[in-house]
Symmetry: D2
Subunit: 336 residues, 4 copies
Amino acid sequence: MVVILKDQAEQKKVKNLTDWLENQGLSVHKVKGQYQTILGLIGDTSKVDIDLIQGLDIVENVKRISEPYKNANRKFHPDDTVIDINGYKIGGGNFQYFAGPCSVESREQILSIARDVKKAGANILRGGAFKPRTSPYAFQGMRAEGLELLLEAKKETGMPIVTEIMDASHLPLFENVDIIQVGARNMQNFELLKQLGRIDKPIFLKRGLSATLQEFLMSAEYIMAEGNQKVILCERGIRTFETATRNTLDLSAVPMLKEMSHLPVVVDPSHACGIARMVKPMAFAAAACGADGLMIEVHNDPAHALCDGPQALTPERFSEVTAGVEKILAAVREAK
Amino acid sequence: MVVILKDQAEQKKVKNLTDWLENQGLSVHKVKGQYQTILGLIGDTSKVDIDLIQGLDIVENVKRISEPYKNANRKFHPDDTVIDINGYKIGGGNFQYFAGPCSVESREQILSIARDVKKAGANILRGGAFKPRTSPYAFQGMRAEGLELLLEAKKETGMPIVTEIMDASHLPLFENVDIIQVGARNMQNFELLKQLGRIDKPIFLKRGLSATLQEFLMSAEYIMAEGNQKVILCERGIRTFETATRNTLDLSAVPMLKEMSHLPVVVDPSHACGIARMVKPMAFAAAACGADGLMIEVHNDPAHALCDGPQALTPERFSEVTAGVEKILAAVREAK
Amino acid sequence: MVVILKDQAEQKKVKNLTDWLENQGLSVHKVKGQYQTILGLIGDTSKVDIDLIQGLDIVENVKRISEPYKNANRKFHPDDTVIDINGYKIGGGNFQYFAGPCSVESREQILSIARDVKKAGANILRGGAFKPRTSPYAFQGMRAEGLELLLEAKKETGMPIVTEIMDASHLPLFENVDIIQVGARNMQNFELLKQLGRIDKPIFLKRGLSATLQEFLMSAEYIMAEGNQKVILCERGIRTFETATRNTLDLSAVPMLKEMSHLPVVVDPSHACGIARMVKPMAFAAAACGADGLMIEVHNDPAHALCDGPQALTPERFSEVTAGVEKILAAVREAK
Amino acid sequence: MVVILKDQAEQKKVKNLTDWLENQGLSVHKVKGQYQTILGLIGDTSKVDIDLIQGLDIVENVKRISEPYKNANRKFHPDDTVIDINGYKIGGGNFQYFAGPCSVESREQILSIARDVKKAGANILRGGAFKPRTSPYAFQGMRAEGLELLLEAKKETGMPIVTEIMDASHLPLFENVDIIQVGARNMQNFELLKQLGRIDKPIFLKRGLSATLQEFLMSAEYIMAEGNQKVILCERGIRTFETATRNTLDLSAVPMLKEMSHLPVVVDPSHACGIARMVKPMAFAAAACGADGLMIEVHNDPAHALCDGPQALTPERFSEVTAGVEKILAAVREAK
């Protein structure tokens, strides 16, 4: 950490600050310039309250230099984390497809899609039972009943399932769920993260709509600090001024996260763009820049009351995506 | 709601869509142009799933025209909501100061600040017991013990208290708390919002870091739809590319929210800017553009281990703020 | 400037870098920690290419600590700059209103508005002759002819005029213009800024839609480095994800700019919000947080073909704004 | 275009508006609901001033439905534009590499890199002679002299060259330049765009840091409306809150732009990320999602005073990028 002092900082106050920092086990190196003095802090600064120092009237600026995350940090864990999901591996060169409908709507629907996406190459079934919706008047998911149907689909197809939790009090219902998803809007629901850190299941953590990569990793750190090291990171688009796409898929997050951290990184192009016809090119791009997996919404027409061409891909189009992604992955491997 | 169809949309599919919409009780008006056809939907569109329609292959674009919030909507509730907080009113021309430390740190600290801010003009005491922190290694607040100390301060000074809840399971601890705060990071913790909608206490709802004003009001709507109409909105800065201030205080949200909704609007300049010396000018500005109250962090030096000039204002400087704000409020009243 | 080296940076390369930095007249102080080494650079780092160092494979990060602007920097010029505009002063406690139509449309229109805004308290007349428009098919302004009409209005009313330049080749046309405006879209048109730095007229510089405050001051620095010290800064809204207002007016920029720089700061609430009924509250707020002036669009109905209630304020409503702002300014002076 | 009227809009004013719109050749269809009335406008709305209507006191909202760009619009020009650059084609399935140094620094440097990038697979040489720099104290490029050196490199290697123009008055110097680049900061320098629309050379237009895709295409439209149809679009990163990368590369812009427009789309991963080691993965991703070309900074060590591993790639690493991209392109073709 580097503390930049103001031009004419009172010596007595500088000494107070230096003493206080040294009392916290840090060594303080002073570098004096014409207009500014810099304090370089060496040691474990992860517990230092940066806002507190920033607020001192002798301080012009404070910049954190070492990353405040430890468990999630590639620097301390150079090897890729590989997570085993009921026999299917992700990370360290293992690529996985998480596919299924946005919401579980009926037994027929989920069973039919499960079979279809399995055939098309997906190993893990996704499906929302508890649905976070911006409006209280929108469909909130089938909730406990939806979970039951997902478990039935798991039983029938043998696919592990991933589904979203919205409140720690629902945890007992998730006992047989293979991967628990934390949605973008709950990325900083710290009480929930702590609870998920105390169980022994992979957590699928989605990046918040305006979360920096460092904040994203700090949320992973919340889970890991409690003991659970099985975190899968998911980039799903960030909020920008652009309105042509629902969100802006930040694919540079993929190589950057893989440099900062050893955790697997999955990309969700369906939610990021909000436009089914963009899923294929963005899935290809995600595979090309090093993602460890894809989460894709797949919908089956017949079960769907309305008409063809919905937001999500049909199983047929999804199998075109997986086939293409495999080709891209082979090209990337060859290119190395 | 307006649905823009694609250039050569298949007639059979357009009919399917029109029928489906009419089955939901909407009347559908078709306007045909050279390159595009528009469907104007009249009726209660608040439950229509915009994403579903957007995803249809015959649809180019869907635009919602009427606001999807009802309880929070000024259009249906033209009069200002006035909320009574243990005898202190906010909204409808009543201005309130919410002041106190960021975190409760000790009995001495909270009692001393409570007395000081009361003397300086604040009616409501704020203080964090449960603290949402980006890092799991940072101080997480005194939690239940901190709540006890706040209640003691309330007893001694007679000031109502406002403090943040982080998980619905903590609700029993908040029984004697006067106003329950929902932090920016939990603005879309929908399960928590629902629970808070079922109690009879004012809820102090902070705007999420990247929430649009409509999403902000939809979160208020979550609470109100369950029955609790006592929601206080708080603008506390949004995330932008600017780095000179911690966040960007969006003061145009104040007149805009007051136009969109009848709920009281409070501004928190301390968190928005993250710089104590900017609290005074931004508090003045908030009062000038029509805010119904201010939430301000106040810190007392002696209790504070480090040294003078922290992030928060001292009680002396805070009393300068309240004195100045009163002058601004008088000027605004006179100006009308 | 602080350079953070990578964990196992090769000694030979570190020496190369150190030598290269010292050759540029900087003194380099090395601070060694367990995982990282920091180089503190003391001296004039304003000409050091931060991107070049950032790109070295031994470097983890580079952070600039001292501000790269000199002429615009409050640190080196503690006193407020006061700019004299044909006898009207701005800055250092002098407040000015810049008012007039968005575009000059006819002789009648501009003369009539000029008289009206003068009566309502404005000293400086604004009006666009060259209009930057997103679409090539939109009205591009009356251009040279519009400038002539503005000069006629100046002659008749005695008001100095401010109007936008879009290309340095138009400079000869601006000879009798009192203040030359640089629009948000040209804030980083560096060739234009350099040319404006070589003339002796106040420059009214608008902040770019996504410019940081530091970049904004660097653009002022471009003008000042060429000799022209008369720069007026104008905050006019930044681009965010919010869609309820056209842009987000960043009023915290006002106290922050006044701390960073000695230049006058004007606020333009008309362009920022894009909604006439928000001009009054935001003008009040700007005055309350320390702005040195306001730029406001005023429109006169009769000259306007369409109907009443346009985007801009009418002269009557504008005089309510100035009257109110004067009350706010008095309250702020009293509050100090 | 759709105009949403306010709840109790005065009939006389609505009639005024309707008449005014019809006078502009539009047909107006009224759809009346319980709380709102919608006017659907059919016809060529590209010249209608949306801000003017938005400002009327009877209007709640205006939404543009048809795109205001014509020449750049895929809808009116379904086939891909293919641009011939001295024999090298781009667009319509033809992929090109634009490579070279950020700035021209010396004859030796530019000649050496030109040879190297040609060998590594690039057909078009890039190099900055006029350099837009945030700071007036930073190196502004070799300017006219740099252009001479670029032309020498063109002569020796036979490669067409692309270089940035910063002011229309410099156009005579660009006579023998093959492609003229407009930088992100000048994307809305409308006077420059108009001038470039009157010459017969391909224009390489970079997206502004906070430009929406529609604004980007409107800037292309400025050039095309004057006659020059040879515009190459370049996505180079947008500004967001993220700080780990210099900008956020918006790759979803690639398929979206190709849907909205028929113009070729190039991606510049070097400037977007600002980190040399991210160029390879992001170049792969750009190729995978359908880009028509890549612009990549390549630097040669020996000519470079400092040391190895600069911001830009070395020719060796660049040839790894082109080799890999070719494999990705083959995989994508196969996947279709």
